[in-house]
């Protein structure tokens, strides 16, 4: 790394070749417009890919790929790098044949085509989606090498669709009896998840748009449920059906997975909220600082209960904290980018970030989380993350509290 710096900075007395010898792109003619009718990233960016975590799952169609948070900016996740979680593989469904059915405790059980849905009054909102199992590997000891694998099951996008409440009202929901809705996907797993009726009538979106275009196939094209603040598994992809009911459904992914293993051996069911959390993305584990001196320490914060109010950063393992700058927009149930100045003196340092949301909730330390929930849980690990900067500039994943 030191040599990389040296290389990019080597300056003869006269000056650098990179300046003195005009590059080809300064003295030639470039490529035409519409070389790509749909463009793609620079070839120099190929290192930033979504990736699997080896050994985490046994088959690739019931697996996860992680977003490379270590190299991202701002709050919008490029759709090409949106994390993936499939239970029975992904599909590129013919949208003209896709249907949404609403059934159950409604006056009229209805069927909607995509044409129908896209005629309805729509909303566009920026929200994060985080897998309930994000950071699961770190419940016990440190297990994985970078923020891509510790925190990369999160993305944030602008979603467009019709409010679920609009559809339920159209179908004549039985306001007395209706207590829950079940959302069901059209893929092989036909993923089902229970959502309480207050939430369903609040800010849940039946979405077709993501970051200005249609959802990507990996993310549920042509239709997915957006359940702001709730773990990703409830954001049912390839959404085909909404049933209005009066009991919770205890589906496989709310009876065998996405349940929290407590020290007394019980499991908490239906714990969908993604509580307030944050992580420093640069510098983060697996990265090497090029030099001593100034760095802009940057990261992401989010809360399933509302907006981010404040983010504090420590460079001494949590002994002392300074409040970071929040980049706008700061939106409810959306990622918020924070930045803070730091001068690295070349000595070991431990970086941490701690988010506070609009309810006043303060992101906990891992020992505080364990004191309540034990160490056998998989889901909902929202502890403060620590990164150790070693003397040689390499950053690594550690637990400090």
């Amino acid at each position: 790394a030191a040599s990389a710096t040296a290389a990019t900075r080597a300056v003869a007395a006269e000056g650098e070749d990179a300046i003195l010898k005009l590059p080809e792109h300064t003295t030639g003619l470039g490529l035409p417009v519409v070389t790509d009718g749909y463009g793609k990233p620079s070839k120099w960016e190929a290192n930033l890919q979504r990736r699997q975590s080896p050994g985490l799952t046994r088959v690739n169609q019931a697996s996860v790929s992680f977003t490379p948070l270590q190299g991202l900016f701002g709050i919008i996740t490029p759709s090409g790098l949106h994390f993936e979680r499939h239970h029975q593989g992904w599909w590129d469904i013919d949208p003209s044949k896709h249907r949404l059915m609403v059934n159950g405790l409604v006056k009229r059980e209805r069927v909607f085509t995509m044409d129908d849905l896209m005629r309805l009054p729509s909303v566009s909102r920026i929200h994060f989606i985080e897998c309930g199992a994000n950071t699961a590997t770190e419940w016990g000891n440190v297990a994985v090498p970078t923020v891509q694998y510790t925190h990369g099951m999160i993305s944030c996008s602008e979603f467009t669709g019709v409010l679920l409440s609009t559809l339920l009202e159209m179908c004549g929901i039985d306001k007395k009896k209706a207590k829950y809705v079940l959302a069901e996907g059209a893929d092989g797993s036909s993923m089902t998840r229970t959502i309480d009726i207050e939430r369903a009538m609040d800010d849940v979106i039946v979405a077709w748009g993501m970051n200005g275009e249609m959802l990507r196939p990996e993310n549920g094209y042509p239709l997915r449920l957006v359940v702001p603040g709730i773990q990703g598994v409830s954001w049912v992809k390839y959404l085909r059906r909404i049933e209005v009911g009066d009991e919770k459904y205890a589906t496989k992914d709310e009876a065998v997975h996405y349940i929290d293993h407590m020290p007394d051996g019980t499991h908490r069911q239906y714990t969908g909220i993604q509580e307030c959390k944050s992580v420093i993305t640069t510098p983060s584990a697996g990265q090497t600082l090029l030099d001593k001196g100034f760095y802009n320490v940057t990261g992401l914060a989010w809360s399933g209960r509302g907006a981010i109010k404040r983010v504090d950063v420590s460079v001494d393992g949590g002994r002392n904290w300074r409040t970071a700058r929040l980049e706008g927009p700061v939106l409810p149930k959306a990622m918020t980018r924070f930045n803070i100045d730091w001068v690295w003196d070349g000595k070991p340092a431990i970086l941490q970030s701690r988010a506070i949301d609009s309810t006043g909730y303060v992101q906990p330390k891992i020992n505080q989380l364990r004191a309540v929930r034990g160490t056998r849980s998989v889901y909902h690990q929202n502890a403060i993350q620590s990164w150790l900067v070693s003397e040689n500039g390499e950053v690594s994943n550690v637990q400090v509290y």
């Binding site: 790394a1 930033l48 990736r51 975590s53 046994r58 088959v59 019931a62 270590q70 190299g71 029975q88 059915m101 059934n103 009229r108 059980e109 209805r110 005629r119 309805l120 009054p121 000891n141 440190v142 994985v144 090498p145 159209m170 036909s190 309480d196 059906r241 009911g245 459904y249 205890a250 009876a255 065998v256 407590m262 051996g265 908490r268 069911q269 239906y270 909220i273 307030c276 510098p283 697996g286 990265q287 090497t288 600082l289 760095y295 504090d312 001494d316 002392n320 506070i356 309810t359 303060v362 906990p364 505080q368 004191a371 056998r376 070693s390 390499e394 690594s396 550690v398 400090v400 509290y401």
Partner: protein, 231 residues
């Protein structure tokens, strides 16, 4: 006062609702009539399931094990004792049967999603059968049992972890309050500042060379994890 978009869409036909409304709830609403013996289940299992899950649901190859870790005692208490922190473990890892509290969940899920590569191909009786087979492996039902919509509620009363679930509302409601409290201390905060855990050596390159997972420019480079970690 219906909205001008009120009539967009169309009514679903009864046949359509039937085709898609396949969910089965804990109170067995949605469960179709039918029956399947352990023996039928074993036949289906060996033909369509065991290649991935093992003859006895024990395989960890394609997915984590389904069967194992539950005891006769658990069936009595309705609590899987091995789940308690510090309890002696009876299985190498948590199995499906150790966790699942509701037999409806098994029925619903197998019916909608299994076999993994041919979901929704089983007949209702076959689903009853494989559920019976799995329950018999866990000694919840005897080897000559015939599971049906008539007796499934009785079987529910023997599920080893039927009393193992709690509903914790604050993590379900957006306006709930978290169960873990931290305070925003700013100065001289309580921390031992010692490293409690760090990345094990074998994990350094288990995800490939991190150098190649970071941008070629910027304030940092990816660490070359083909070389040893900093001491």
């Amino acid at each position: 006062q219906s909205k001008p978009w009120h009539d967009i869409g169309r009514d679903a036909t009864p046949a359509e609702v039937k085709a898609w409304d396949i969910d089965v709830r804990p109170d067995f609403k949605g469960l179709p009539a039918g029956a399947g013996s352990v023996q039928l289940g074993e036949e289906v299992w060996m033909a369509k399931c065991s290649s991935c899950h093992g003859d006895f649901g024990e395989s960890n190859e394609v997915f984590t094990p389904i069967i194992g870790g539950t005891t006769k005692k658990d069936i009595e208490t309705g609590r899987v004792a091995a789940l308690v922190e510090g309890a002696p473990s009876t299985a190498p890892q948590k199995t499906t049967m150790m966790k699942v509290a509701t037999v409806s969940t098994l029925w619903d899920y197998i019916n909608r999603a299994m076999p993994w590569n041919a979901p929704k191909s089983l007949k209702a009786d076959e689903v009853y059968g494989v559920v019976a087979y799995l329950l018999s492996l866990a000694e919840v039902v005897p080897g000559d049992f015939v599971l049906s919509d008539k007796n499934i509620a009785e079987v529910q009363k023997r599920m080893p972890n039927r009393n193992g679930m709690v509903f914790y509302e604050p993590m379900w409601k957006v306006n709930g309050k978290g169960d873990v409290q931290n305070v925003a201390c700013m100065k001289d905060c309580p921390t031992e500042m010692k490293i409690r855990s760090s990345l094990p050596d074998f994990a350094r390159d288990a995800h490939g060379n991190i150098l190649e997972q970071n941008r070629v420019i910027g304030p940092v480079r990816g660490a070359d994890t083909t070389k040893p970690a900093p001491k």
